[in-house]
Every structure is written in C-alpha cells, then in structure tokens.
Subunit: 480 residues, 2 copies
Amino acid sequence: MLPFENIILIDKKSSIAVYKQIANSIINTVRNGVLKPGTKLPGSREMASILNVHRKTVIASYDELEAQGWITVFPRKYVMVAEKLPLLHPKKWDETELAYSYDNDLKINFRIIDKSWCVERDTVEIIIDDGHPDVRLSPIDELLKTYRSFTSRQPAIKSANKGTAQGTVRLREEMVKFLSITRGLTINTDNILITHGAQMSIYLAAQLLLNTQSTIIVGKPNYTVANETFIQTGTQLIEVSVDEYGINTDQIEQLCKKKKITAVYVIPHHHYPTTVTLSVERRMKLLELSNRYSFVIIEDDYDYDYHYASSPYLPLASANHQGNVIYIGSFSKLLDPSLRIGFMAAPKNFIVQCTALRKMIDVGGDGYMQNALAELIKTGELKRHLNKTKKIYHNRRDFLNDLLQSQLSEYISFTVPNGGMAVWITLRKDYSVKQLQNTPLLKIIRTDEESNSFRLGFASMNEQEIEITIDLLHNLLKKQ
Amino acid sequence: MLPFENIILIDKKSSIAVYKQIANSIINTVRNGVLKPGTKLPGSREMASILNVHRKTVIASYDELEAQGWITVFPRKYVMVAEKLPLLHPKKWDETELAYSYDNDLKINFRIIDKSWCVERDTVEIIIDDGHPDVRLSPIDELLKTYRSFTSRQPAIKSANKGTAQGTVRLREEMVKFLSITRGLTINTDNILITHGAQMSIYLAAQLLLNTQSTIIVGKPNYTVANETFIQTGTQLIEVSVDEYGINTDQIEQLCKKKKITAVYVIPHHHYPTTVTLSVERRMKLLELSNRYSFVIIEDDYDYDYHYASSPYLPLASANHQGNVIYIGSFSKLLDPSLRIGFMAAPKNFIVQCTALRKMIDVGGDGYMQNALAELIKTGELKRHLNKTKKIYHNRRDFLNDLLQSQLSEYISFTVPNGGMAVWITLRKDYSVKQLQNTPLLKIIRTDEESNSFRLGFASMNEQEIEITIDLLHNLLKKQ
C-alpha cells in the first residue's frame, strides 16, 4: 500500500478545510499516475487512523471525491479509484515537479512583443513623471459617491451593464455636448467610442487601419508606445522631423508625392515628448494634404484641455475633413491616470468596427464609472475642476520655469511650453541623461538618449515637491 | 466684403463664451478657404457694430486669434488673416458640409471585424441574461469605500499608479493566496496578469499563440465571442462535440494524431453555453494529450466558484502540466459584470509577453480598483460574499428548477446544472427559440438556433423575478 501518511499532507493551520486537503492530495496522486484506476483505498476508519484525523473527515473527503467521479464507493465493502479514469504512466514521485508546473516556461512557440523586458525597480526616492495630473486635486470623491449610488438601484445597474462595448449611452450623450463646447466638434453619439484611455484608441485604430501593405507617418521623436503599437501591425513606419511648430508638413507632402500614405499620426498639442504646439498653418496644410492624398489623420489630442497661452487650438477634427480625422482623447490626464477612461471620435462606419474589435478585447468598460463621469460632466463639476486645475498647473509651470532658470540654467536648455503638464528639458553636452537615470534616487519616466533630453512633469507636484525635485536634479548634475 | 453677419453666428444662450464663438467662426471660415490669407478683416469697432456685440468682445476674439496665429494685428492700422497660412481653393460655402464632417463614412480601406452589426433594441420588458451575478448582493459599497480611501493618500496613489499593466503588486500577491486556497494553484506573482475580465485574457492568449499557421480546437457549441476572437487571428478553428461530460477528448485525440494542434480551448465547468461539467476522466485525458502532443490548454474557468453538487473540481491548471495550461478567470461573475477585473495564470515567459501586449492595448487597469479588490480578498469579505451568494444562487437554481418542471415541462427539456448561474434550456420540436426572441417583451442574451436552445441566467433574479420571467415564457410559448 502507498504511504498515505507521506502523500497526504495536512496543514491544520491552513484556511483550506482538512477534508478538502485530503481530497485534493488524493486527486493529485491520481492525476500524477501514482494512484492507478481500480486501486483500492483504505476504508474510512483505517485512513482516519493513518492520517490521525477524525473518521468523519475522511468520509467527507470520500464523499467529495465520489461526487466528482474520482473514486467509486461500495458501501460497507471498499473504496477504489474510479476504473474509468485513464491509465497514466506513473511519473517518478516528485513533489516539486508536481507543485510548480508554472515554474516551467511555456515551450510552445508564441509571438514575442517585447524582447527587452526588465523588472521595474521598486524603491526610488523620486519619480519624475511625464505629465500626470495631481490626483489630490481631482473630484474622485464626487465621482465615487455617484458610482456608489448607481450600484444600488436596479435601473442604474441595468443602464451600467448595457452597451458598455461602445460606452454607455449616458456618457456618449454627455460627450457629444462636452466635445462640442470644448472642441467645436460636431458629432452625434454614433461617432463616439468610450475606451480605456487614449492608448486603447490608438491600438484599435492601428489594428483596423494598418497592415503589412500600409504606411504610416509619425513625428520624430514620438510617443514610443504609439510607434510600437503601429509597428506590431507590420506596417511601414516613416518618421518626419518635429520642430518648434510641430510635425513637418512639408516633409509629409514630399512623402505623399512619392508613395501611398495610409495614415499620419499627429499630437497637435502638446506634442509628446517635446511639448510643442502644432501651428495653425501646419494644421491647415495637414488637412489639405489629407484631402488631396486621401490619408487618415490620427489626431491624438490627449493634452487638449490644458493650454495656458491662449484658448486651446481647435482640433483638426473640428474642421472640414470629410470624415478623415480619427480624434483621440482621454480623461486620464484630467482626473487620474488610474481612471482608465478615454474616447475616440470618428465616422460611424469606423466606430462600429472599432466597437466590434473592442468587444473581443475586453467586452466593454466599467459602466458605473462611465455613468458617474457623465454625471460629473452634466453637473458642471468637471468644468469647474478643469478651470481650477488649469490655474494651478499654470502657476506650477511658471514656478518651475523660475527654478529651472535660477538653478539649472548651466546644465540644461528648454522652452517654456504653451500648455500641458510637462517641460521638455535638454541637457547640455557635458551632461548625460543616461547617467541621471543611473541612480537609485531617481526614476525618470520619459528620457530620450539620442537628443539627451527628458520630460519633467510638473502638474502632479506642488511647489514644495517641485523644489525638492529640482534640488535633487541639481545635486545629481553637479556631480556629473 | 464677406457678409460676416451671416458667417459669424452667435448664440447668446450657448455655454461657449461669445468671444470664442466669434473666434471659432472666423477660424472655420479661414479653414474652409473662404477667408484667404492676407485678407483684411473689419476693425474691432466695425466688426462689433456688424455683429451687434460689445467692442471688447471682438478685441478678445482678435487677441485669441492672434495668439494662435490665425490673424496678424497691426495696431491702429488693420487686422488681416495671417499671410503665411496655406492658400486653399475655396469650397462652396456650405454650412452643412462644414459642420458635419463626421456624417461622412471613413472612405479609406480598413479591416472589417463584424459585418452583421445591428443597433441594440432599447426597450425590452425583461432581459434573460446568460448568467450574471445579482449585483444587489455584491459588496460594492465595501469596495468603493476602500477605493475612496486610496485616492486621497499619496502612498496609496503611487501604489495604484504603478505597474498596472500586469496588475498592482498588492492584488497579485492576494491572488496568489486566493488561487492557492480556492483552486490548488501553485504560482507566484510573476505568473499572474490582471486583465479587464476573462475576455481580455482570451484575446491576449489568442493574439500571442494563434496565427495563420496554427490550429485550435474548441467545443461545439462554444462561447461565441471566443470563437470570433480566435478566427480573427487567421487560425484554423476545429470544433469537436460537447456532451454531458464536456468536450469530447477522444475526438481531440483523433485530431492530434492527424495534425499539429496548437491549442485546445476548454471551459471545464460550467461549459458555456451548455453548463455541463468536464468529467475528471476527461480532465486527466486532456492533460495527458497536452503532454503527449505538446499543445496549450486554454482553460477558461470563468464560473469556477459556483458549484453546488460538490466542491468545485480542481482546475487542470492545478495538476502537473509542465506549464502548458493558460488559466483564465474573472471577478465579473463574482461581483459585477461592470467591474472589469479578471486574471490569467501562466508561465512567466508568457505572462511577460501578454503584459507587453496589454500595455499597447490600454496601458493598464484601474489600480485603485485592483487594490480595493485586494483588500476585499485580504479581509475575507470576498470569501464571505462567495459563501453567502453560493447558498442564495443554489436556492434560486432549485426554485427555478421546480418552476420549470411545473410550468414549462411540456415546452422544454433541460438538465439541472451542477453549478453556475444559468440553465441551458432546449425547446421541444414544435416551439422555436427564434420566435421567442421576436417579441419586444423579451430579450434573451444567448440563444442557439441550431439546437433550438437558450441560456436562462437565474442568479441575477430573486424568486419573484424568476416567477415573472417564467410566466412570460409560459405565455409566449403557449401562443406559439
């Protein structure tokens, strides 16, 4: 007989009931090929004595095993491993191998997305983000109060669980008004898809528009994740330069003359990572080119709402474009990076297909959160929040500007951005952004080694925190 | 001079400031090619009189336009449309075309995911879901209280905004314990990816494993969205039959002998849509085949936690499988379909690539919600909820069973499921499930016309609601 006292390990301190531990051990022994179909097991009285547990516990285990079909019980006779189970060639009894199947690699071939994977460092003093909002200012409390109220009433539950693939009707209706008032967009609810942030809109557009036969133009430098997302589709990616007026439209025109362009990805303001605003003449030029050469403009306007020098520039999507502009935005920058709500505005035929793909990806979004956000827009709370934070971020930008001038001017050069939540800082020749990263004290989310630059997000920090950050940078650069 | 009083339309009741309305109108007129670069505009005094607004309003508009680069102001001389703007061939002045660009279709070719798109009916009396939980029983309040507490403290904010692509460390740590206790899984935090529900895990696995050279085996019938997700990758999809013991493993073996199989997708309990439980012998057989023929098992165990006939069957993933099982689960069924949190357990090398792809899709999940869920697991609240609802759903299943027997037995046949949240009901020959759907009174989420069957989710309904639903079905079938 098998040494059950060694095979069936009972941990009385475990939160798993003892009878289940016994059943699970027997199941594992059968699954491992050690206990063969047809093998007799000790009766409940004997097993109880072997394992030093109450007989009722063993009976409960056997009941469980019988209900699932692992064993056959012949009452008052004997208990045996079910005969119909497949006969396995027993493996060497090896507890480690059994327990840690997931320590193995998956050995079947699969697609590799990222070869450079590294574990994130966990302990850093200061993280310089690439332009996060200050979550402490956000009306999250308002949002969650509304959220809670929705989860207890049956009509609100139904509303939240319906049509979340495209976004709840309630949020799309509010979005139509919000985008009209803030961005001059003329759309209806069929033109809107609610996504998990701007990135999902980029992904969906890339998946539907791009393939091995297509070509997309992007700025250099560009939002890296967007580039990776495009490249994964097999598309050809062509970079054109970005200067103080944004992406170079003359270069785009030259390319259009030479080959068929499928799409142009543009971040009109404020360009990521350089923070420049696309000038109005280039905006007009881009629209004209799109019309002439029939390419799609993917307009990633993630940063629209925070422009300090004037009102934000009206998006390309608000102009006459025959339906050629796919407009992308996000609430992550307005409220909280963790609140994954963004949107896409596009012609209905495209939204329909994006919604179908999105259904496959994750069924839909969090309907309560969407409806709570709709309420935040409707009551004007979001607008008040925007007005408040715009002033605060504007002040923080100016505060940072003064500090950079007075403390770091011998190490860096930069242009004060007209808006947004970050400054693009270029180190002078004798200093290295790579070396800046090589300290456990600091983690910078977005650096660019080629241009020796990095993004310094200021919106998420109050004045004291900005001071601490600049002091740290000062100390680190001084030592280089 | 252009008839500005007709071009610049001011709506004093609009929530957009009048000076912005004026600026936006002028921008649109320039973008439309009607106002050409170099054209002089009326001075602020004259324009104010034309538009019947205060002169200061026009000055504010002009300031705005100048800041953005649309016009050039020569103080005390004149104002003109900036000369550097590109010259457009003016379009016919057509307000409709201008305003409704998004009424156009996107005319560039793109991938079509779903050809059968239809608008959802909005007004139905009763929705028969395919197995939703009863949200009214869920501890959403607990969850949101914790959520709120996290959004106000800086360390909690940092924790929630870090590493959300794979899932917060906090939730992954709790998941490791939770999956060990409830499912006998031996994994660590590197083996876990937190997703937006089970569907996202299916999507990620499909994207990485399948392509035009691969073959996947699924049950017939199957969860339709999974099939669609697989087919989109270009893979060959082979269906094998599902009977009362689950997917037919003999047929799988025959197929393995004939050709290279990449993956088998299996819903061990309770199969969607038929609700059958995969028997233990077939589970063992499937593991053995996976080992012998080196295919991946995608184990979609969305419904694990609700098994009434015995404890739930241990997942395939808990057996010895050399890392060949990709295990998929979800909290949508435990708490709320709108709470988009699910997970995948797999070998680390696969999780790493899934995380990389997931970053492209939507950056990551809602870190606060993940940490709040972690807290719910840690405090035992989730387990209490599970125990409570298991009893309630068990009773509802029995209540429904009695009603089906007494009221509908002449119209239907069905097998009481051992667990889960739905009953698979087959109509007798003289009645049609298609016709059942053809009434504005009722919407059934999952029907299968081939087998004349549908899923009747009972968990989301209390006894009174179940009675109303059965009454409605009775009345509709009586009339057929």
